[in-house]
Amino acid sequence: MEDKDKKKWIYRLEELTKEYNDIVGKKCANLGELTRAGFRVPYGFALGLDAYEMFMKETGALEEVKKYFLSFKGDPENTADLSKWQEASEVTRGIIESKSMPPSMADTILSYYEELCGKARIQDCPVATRSAGAASHPGQYESFLYVRGGEEVLRNIIKVWGSTLNQRSLVNRAKGNYSVEYDPIGVVVLQMINSKSAGVILTLNPSNGDRSVITIEGSFGLGEAVVSGKVTPDRWMVNKVLLEIMEKYISNDKHFQYTCDSEKKLVTIELPSELRNTPCLNEGEIKELVKIANKIEEHYGCPQDIEWAIDKEIPFPENLFIVQTRPETIWSKKQQKSVLDKKSSLDLLMERATTPIKVK
């Protein structure tokens, strides 16, 4: 597909492993790793950091942006200058978004997109275009959902790249003395799951770090409603070893869902009152999700933070998709500390035999 002498800049997910972190960004690399390990991940492909660079150089966007910043004066530490940074962002994003995809890149991306539509058996398959930094900075760059058709895919990839020039990223880079005009990121183009419900899983109990527990949160529609915190999700605490639900909290505040309309466009729908307090998962789905989460954790060898989605039309359990995973960081660090704390098991026995339980 690409010229053989040129560096490879686009990958099918199944070509990637976590070793590709620095080439395609973390999210892409992890999705590739999951796909290869046999987990059900939507169809997708990834554009490497090199693609960003090629685009920026070949279209001349980089030169124009650089030129703009030569004459730009703004202090990132001064809040009074924030509006200047906002203006800079608007101008420079405008520069990027005004460019077209260079024809050779466009042809390649479109052929990958065609292949994706073919696998998914959907014409103009709706996809999400998401940013993937080599270092994790969740939420910093932008994602676009329900993108349909080749031209839109190209345009939205450019928009994701452009989001590296959003105001807060500019300010952050200026503060950290990085080059302001430039931050190569990967982009993943992932088939949209038309989800009836979606959410996140943490493979431990976030309140006490108990690793025998899996925490599932979810709501109706797309996972964005949960991730963004715009609804109060349902929550299940499940015993990881016995696969038994220990505790459930059914929210009565799932007031809307993101979903798609008949045109396959992203819409926000108010939920009827009877659905607001209806659980978004049944027991079978919960158990299946737990099994999958267990396997992902086992695969990575450490607690994971996972995003999942359940398709509306595909029959269970083939409708359970994993759309992201990343290592849990807070408790995983703490748990290196020993509970025994230098004591031996015999010390504990002796201690118990000599220490009475005090009653308040």
């Binding site: 070893v241 016995l242 098991s345 015999l346 504990l348």
Partner: protein, 624 residues
């Protein structure tokens, strides 16, 4: 001055308890050391601690002779903790009787510092360095052999069928030099029986340290996994082939065997009496074969009590064969419906191993994993004592002992000293030697000689006291809540923790009729709604219908077959290790145990909800 009895920071003192006048004379029935306030020093001591009405060991008012069994454990268990293993902070157990109700309590105070230090050294040597290290299957084998020997001694006691008018010829010819009189033999057998019961209860010596190990393991698991439940920890440490389940397993085996020859199954299913069934079976080859197996199963497994094992009137499967035969009938019918009745050992064992491995694998710190392995190893080696002593002591030994005691009672009744054999149990073991001696005396002295006392009249009065006691609801708790809980035994068996004591204090002022929610231990998961069947005696257990929710004081192993019928179980007593809990988990039945007073609050026919995940029982609708 107003009455202090309902003070909120303590329970009534023994002296403040109003005992109904119908019970007048109850004190004379029990040895003096079982009474409260015998000296001023003792009264002060008694008023300084908490007394639990011990329904776990005595679910109903206690008969004077049955009290010997309690007495035997008071001293044997106490001595094993304080003088033998020397558990540093533990101080033994005290037993009392108040108005025929049995109270037991561990010492809720610590020994002096220097004694604790001395004990700690011995404990380190005997328990840490020996019990936790060396105990294993061979030691348990030896333990079982030795308790069986005590059983054999009880069995081999020869009791004359009667005091004969004239001693038989065999005693004279050919050598009369070994002759002792039949009267003496009865007296001697009684003394030996008393002594053997005191001996048998030493077979609880392993419980204290074994409970200690399981508490430490459990605490360690809770630190590693804050969300782990007691149920899960119990599943990890409990054995699969617990001997308490053997009687029931033997019945399952016999039921399967019966099914392989239709004529045998037919006889077992019909409505004939047990005697008639045995005669019918003896008529055919296949029937005889089945009878052989039936007879083989009896020793020791049919010594399982039909009740708790603590009362003379409960009987065992040997003395009440109706019970096992009724279960056999049920088992055969269940098998014919194509359902399974046996516990799937291999599956249970596999599930246990997977559970332990599942948790173990989640321990990230290597030292912690080592600690987990070491503690688990200890618990698994010492735990069989806590599981198996129940069958061997409370069932095998107690049943044997009661059967022998009834042989003695029969001799006494035959000579007309008492009306009926059970009356003997209205006298305590310090009085009975006098009663027997009185009989021995008048028998030896010839014809027409009067007894020194009217034993029949005394028994009649005591029978009335016992009946009155059954109607009296005595206070569940006496004295002051403890400041420390030193004994592992009290935590494991009675669920006494800081929380429960506070709960009891609160609950003691509530009117029963107003309670709609009960809290207990979540013994087996699930949430189930259904109609309650309150069972307080053995006769009622056979009335349990399909899909009833069993509400009982405690369950006992002889009831196990009923677990194939019920939807859920609720008990007044017990912790996560009690029989009801274990059986419920295995049959997948929701259960809440240790609710305190479910049998008093819930009535048969009430619509109730049992939440085995949280340990809560709710009355949804009271029966009309």
């Amino acid at each position: 001055m107003t009455s202090q009895t309902s003070s909120k920071d303590r329970f009534p003192f023994p002296k403040e308890v109003q005992i109904p006048s119908e019970l007048n004379g109850w004190e004379e029935m029990y040895p003096k050391y079982f009474l409260f306030g015998t000296t001023p020093e003792r009264e002060k001591f008694e008023n300084g601690t908490l007394w639990l009405q011990d329904k776990l060991h005595a679910a109903e008012p206690i008969y004077p002779l049955d009290l010997l069994l309690q007495d035997a454990w008071q001293t044997a268990i106490s001595a094993s903790t304080t003088r033998f293993w020397c558990i540093p902070m533990a101080q033994g157990w005290y037993h009392r009787v108040l108005g025929c109700s049995f109270y037991a309590t561990p010492a809720f105070y610590l020994p002096p510092e220097d004694v604790m230090k001395e004990k700690a050294e011995i404990f380190a040597k005997r328990v840490m360095g020996f019990f936790f290290k060396e105990y294993g299957p061979e030691m348990f084998e030896s333990w079982r052999n030795n308790i069986k020997k005590v059983g054999e001694k009880i069995k081999s006691l020869e009791i004359p069928g009667e005091l004969p008018k004239f001693e038989p010829d065999e005693m004279v010819f050919p050598d009369p030099s070994s002759w002792v009189s039949s009267g003496y033999k009865v007296l001697d057998a009684f003394y030996r029986l008393v002594s053997l019961m005191y001996e048998a209860w030493h077979f609880h010596r392993e419980l204290g340290p074994a409970y200690l190990a399981s508490i430490v393991f459990s605490d360690f698991c809770k630190k590693l996994f804050p969300n782990i439940t007691g149920t899960i920890i119990t599943k990890m440490i409990a054995g699969v082939k617990v001997e308490m389940f053997r009687p029931q397993e033997e019945l399952a085996r016999l039921a399967k065997l019966a099914l392989s020859s239709p004529d045998v199954a037919k006889i077992l299913k019909n409505d004939l009496s047990v005697q008639q069934k045995l005669e019918e079976l003896d008529k055919s080859g296949t029937g005889k074969k089945w009878l052989d197996e039936y007879n083989k199963a009896q020793d020791p497994w049919f010594y399982v009590s039909c009740g708790s094992g603590w009362f003379h009137h409960e009987g065992c499967w040997l003395t009440n064969p109706d019970v096992p035969f009724e279960y056999l009938k049920g088992y055969i019918k269940t098998l014919e419906e194509g359902k399974e009745i046996e516990r799937p050992f291999d599956e249970l064992d596999k599930a246990r191993k997977e559970l332990v491995e599942g948790y173990r694998k989640l321990i990230t710190n290597e030292e912690d994993r080592k600690g987990f392995d070491e503690l688990y190893d200890i618990v698994r080696r010492v735990y069989p004592y806590t599981e198996n002593h129940i069958f061997w002591c409370e069932h095998y030994i107690h049943s044997l002992w009661f059967m022998k005691m009834k042989e003695i009672a029969n001799v006494i009744v035959k000579y007309g000293v008492l009306e009926e054999p059970n009356d003997l149990f209205l006298f305590n073991w310090y009085e009975i030697p006098i009663l027997i001696y009185d009989l021995y005396m008048i028998w030896s002295q010839g014809e027409g000689i009067p007894l020194s006392e009217n034993w029949k009249e005394k028994a009649k009065k005591r029978r009335q006291i016992m009946e009155a006691a059954k109607k009296w609801s005595s206070p569940p708790m006496l004295g002051v809540p403890p400041k420390v809980i030193p004994d592992p035994f009290v935590i494991m068996n009675y669920g006494v923790t800081d929380e429960t004591v506070q709960g009891w204090l609160k609950g003691s002022t509530v009117v029963l009729e107003d309670i709609t929610e009960l809290k207990g231990h979540p013994a087996s998961p699930g949430v189930v709604e259904g109609y309650a069947k309150v069972v307080t005696s053995l006769d009622e257990i056979t009335q349990v219908q399909m899909d009833d929710i069993l509400v009982c004081r405690y369950t006992n192993p002889a009831w196990a077959p009923v677990f194939t019928k019920i939807k859920a179980a609720v008990s007044d007593l017990g912790g996560l290790l009690t029989h009801a809990a274990i059986v419920s988990r295995e049959y997948g039945i929701t259960a809440v145990v240790g609710t305190g007073n479910a049998t008093a609050v819930i009535k048969t026919g009430d619509l109730i909800k049992v939440d085995g995940d949280r340990g809560i029982v709710t009355i949804i609708k009271k029966a009309a």
